[in-house]
């Protein structure tokens, strides 16, 4: 009996080990092997699933149209995805990327969420010279670091500097004048801004960018609090109490989706911080709206792709079609990281066609000089390219304000900035109090 029980437990452990180890799937060797670095497990798995599903959608679309013509082969080849689960950790990312490069022999990599995770496995990518279209990490260090050769890295996500800079300018241009006017304060009174940032390259990079933007542009914004927190934190009550004591007019968290939802909920519900919260673009996901509910009313998100607000322009129809297809296939709305990865697969396909071969050097050269028309995210000059010295594509960013609809019990965004994309005016709620009290 005892032996049998031991055998059962060992068996269960082996099954568990199999589940833990089988998160990367193998594929037959044919066509372009595209490795997708996605957080399929761990705290970032919501985003990871979106990344992987979007890549699947793009690859299937390309393959359904007959694949990609490769001149050197004189025929069309298919895009074959290889999934690499980074487990939302640095170590998991290193393991997944190593396997994809050395075992699966991928030609190109895409995906890669969390700057901390991506920076950890980049050295492996650099050592093997594999082209990597990074669609999730936002720290500028992923292509600007000098300790490794980043010539094979291409950054298809707005860098934190750009995102934080846009948000800070919005605060100065739109929020500060509106708050000063509403509460009868002098027009030039500085706005008190509190920053709650993830203690990681992502968070610190954004904080530095906020400070640099304020200093470089001489904005009338005073930082009254800079509060770090550990990645994955769930209890923000003390941090928020500390922030509240410093009297902020606006709170700017540099946080992931699974962090900002409890942070904002606890701020409004438990701490009574009656102020407007900002959010970085990576939280613009249907789960964010669902998770926040009424607590997200009047909050602001800097964005480039939203499930519920599509900017005017050439991408409008593309976004509608992409969302329709995604919802039909996965019974869920696509998120921002997925949208960038969807484009990442198309970029890889375009590069393959341009290179006319799967030769690594030719693919690198092709990605570096590529000019792809904007697809589901609004790009500067309407084109996806990695023309600048850091291989960074340039996005058109916008700001959304979220409103709670009590009738439908839904939280939805409207674009409030910049003027050319604006759907409605920025509003200050009646419950808002300057100084957060």
């Amino acid at each position: 009996m005892r032996t049998a029980l031991i055998a059962i437990v060992i068996g269960l452990l082996l099954v568990m080990a199999c589940f833990a180890g089988c998160t990367q799937q193998s594929v037959p060797a044919a066509g372009l092997k595209l490795g997708v670095v996605a957080s399929m497990t761990g705290p970032a798995s919501t985003t990871g699933k979106d990344v992987w599903q979007s890549a699947q959608l793009a690859a299937d679309e390309i393959n359904a149209r007959g694949g990609v013509f490769v001149k050197s082969l004189g025929k069309n080849v298919t895009i074959q995805l290889v999934q690499g689960d980074d487990e939302s950790t640095r170590e998991g990312g290193i393991k997944a990327v190593t396997k994809m490069i050395t075992d699966d022999k991928v030609d190109v990599l895409t995906g890669g969420f969390s700057s901390a995770v991506v920076t950890a496995h980049e050295s492996i990518v650099a050592d093997h010279g594999v082209p990597y279209i990074i669609t999730g990490a936002s720290s500028s260090t992923v292509t600007r670091r000098t300790d490794i050769n980043t010539s094979t890295m291409f950054h298809h996500a707005p860098i934190t500097d750009a995102s934080a800079s846009q948000t800070t300018i919005f605060v100065d241009e739109v929020m500060r004048p509106a708050i000063n006017a509403k509460f009868g304060r002098p027009a030039d009174q500085p706005l008190h801004l509190a920053v709650i940032y993830q203690d990681s390259p992502f968070g610190k990079g954004a904080l530095d960018a906020i400070k640099a933007t304020i200093a470089a542009k001489g904005l009338k914004i005073q930082l009254v609090a800079e509060e770090p927190y550990k990645m994955g934190e769930t209890d923000y009550r003390t941090t928020l109490t500390s922030v509240k004591a410093k009297g902020p007019d606006v709170v700017y968290p540099i946080a992931f989706l699974n962090e900002e939802v409890p942070m904002l909920t606890q701020a409004r519900r438990d701490v009574g911080l009656n102020t407007i919260f900002l959010a970085v673009e990576c939280v613009d996901d249907p789960d964010y709206y669902k998770g926040l509910g009424q607590y997200g009313d009047y909050s602001i998100i800097e964005s480039r792709f939203s499930a519920y607000a599509v900017p005017k322009g050439s991408i409008n129809a593309n976004v509608g079609e992409y969302q329709k297809d995604y919802i039909a296939r996965f019974n869920a709305s696509p998120g921002m990281m997925g949208a960038a990865t969807y484009e990442g697969v198309y970029i890889a396909a375009a590069a393959l066609e341009k290179a006319g071969t799967t030769d690594q050097a030719a693919l690198l050269s092709a990605i570096g000089s590529i000019q792809v028309p904007e697809m589901v995210e609004s790009m500067r000059n309407g084109t996806i390219s990695f023309g600048n010295q850091y291989h960074e594509s340039q996005f058109n960013l916008f700001m959304e304000q979220l409103r709670w609809d009590a009738a439908t019990q839904t939280l939805r965004p409207k674009i409030v900035w910049p003027a050319e994309l604006k759907e409605t005016e920025f509003q200050i709620p009646d419950w808002y109090r300057p100084g957060g009290v």
């Binding site: 029980l5 437990v9 568990m16 919501t46 409890p262 519900r269 009574g272």
Partner: protein
């Protein structure tokens, strides 16, 4: 910057709340260790499962999540008994390494199992009292946290009554103090092992319910950090000492809150272990180690 009294009281209050979760978790660890002399490294995963069980029942019934404790606690009690019977009993008494690796293996088993059943996405649930708070000056007292503290006290009082006023509690304490003597006096110590593990799991399940209802998100991988803190509390308070777990849990909650306020959130976890190291250097058996139950 001048810090007003109400801000300090608020920080203390958040520390007390965090301490409640730690106390329930650490008391469970201590109960299991006290009787079985086994450290269950997968204890944080029992908290996670408790949160998911409550969330599932809440999704199915829409009942008040505090009332669902009445269901979650027995479910975790039975689950704990099953885990002890199927996993721990076969290796009990063998090399300690077997127990350690078994419980480490259970961490992955529970995490992957939860991800298979409930998905890997984070979840949260809403308390029906979330909009009720009492503002005393700038000190804010949300009703949910008052309930959480009250529920924790009630559970601990109930546990003390069970241990001190019932024959079952007497048998548990006897097994904890001297396993052989307990066996010789007719106590079924293997049954006591199952009961202790079940009670420990039930306490973790209660902690999971309170975690979820307080507005904290949870996912299949969230158990590790609370578990590590629970072990630190147990060592701080003294292995096997329930009063030690209570004092240690409260101390940790308040210390974390104070560290976050004064040094920043990045120090929240670190300060607990700084305190632990200092206490162990001064008093290697922990605060209540020599008076263990």
């Amino acid at each position: 910057m001048a810090i007003d009294v109400s801000t300090l009281l608020q920080i203390l209050f958040w520390g007390l709340y965090a301490g409640c979760i730690y106390i329930l978790l650490a008391t469970g660890v201590n109960l299991i260790f006290g009787v079985m002399k086994t450290v269950n490294f997968a204890h944080g995963e029992l908290l996670m499962i408790g949160a998911y069980v409550t969330w599932t029942l809440f999704s199915l019934t829409g009942l008040n999540p505090y009332l669902l404790l009445v269901a979650t606690v027995p479910v975790l009690l039975l689950f704990g008994i099953a885990v002890q019977r199927l996993a721990f009993r076969p290796v009990l008494g063998s090399h300690k390494l077997n127990e350690i690796f078994l419980s480490i293996g259970l961490i992955y088993l529970f995490q992957n199992g939860a991800a298979m059943i409930w998905g890997g996405d984070y979840q949260s649930l809403r308390s029906p009292f979330e909009s009720i708070a009492f503002d005393i000056g700038s000190f804010r007292l949300p009703l949910d946290y008052v309930i959480i503290i009250a529920v924790t006290v009630a559970i601990l009082v109930g546990l003390q009554l069970l241990l001190r006023r019932t024959r079952l509690g007497l048998a548990l304490r006897a097994t904890s103090q001297n396993r052989k003597a307990a066996m010789l006096s007719g106590i079924n110590v293997e049954r006591m092992d199952m009961l202790a593990f079940g009670l420990g799991a039930a306490l973790a399940g209660a902690a999971g319910t309170l975690w979820a209802v307080s507005g904290q998100v949870f996912d299949p991988y969230m158990g590790s950090v609370p578990a590590v803190k629970a072990f630190a509390i147990v060592i701080l308070g003294g292995l096997g000492s329930i009063p030690g777990a209570i004092i240690g849990g409260l101390f940790y909650g308040v210390a974390e809150s104070a560290a976050t306020f004064t040094l920043g959130g990045a120090w929240k976890d670190a300060i607990s272990f700084v305190v632990l190291i200092v206490v162990l250097v001064i008093r290697p058996t922990g605060l209540f180690g020599e008076r263990g139950e």
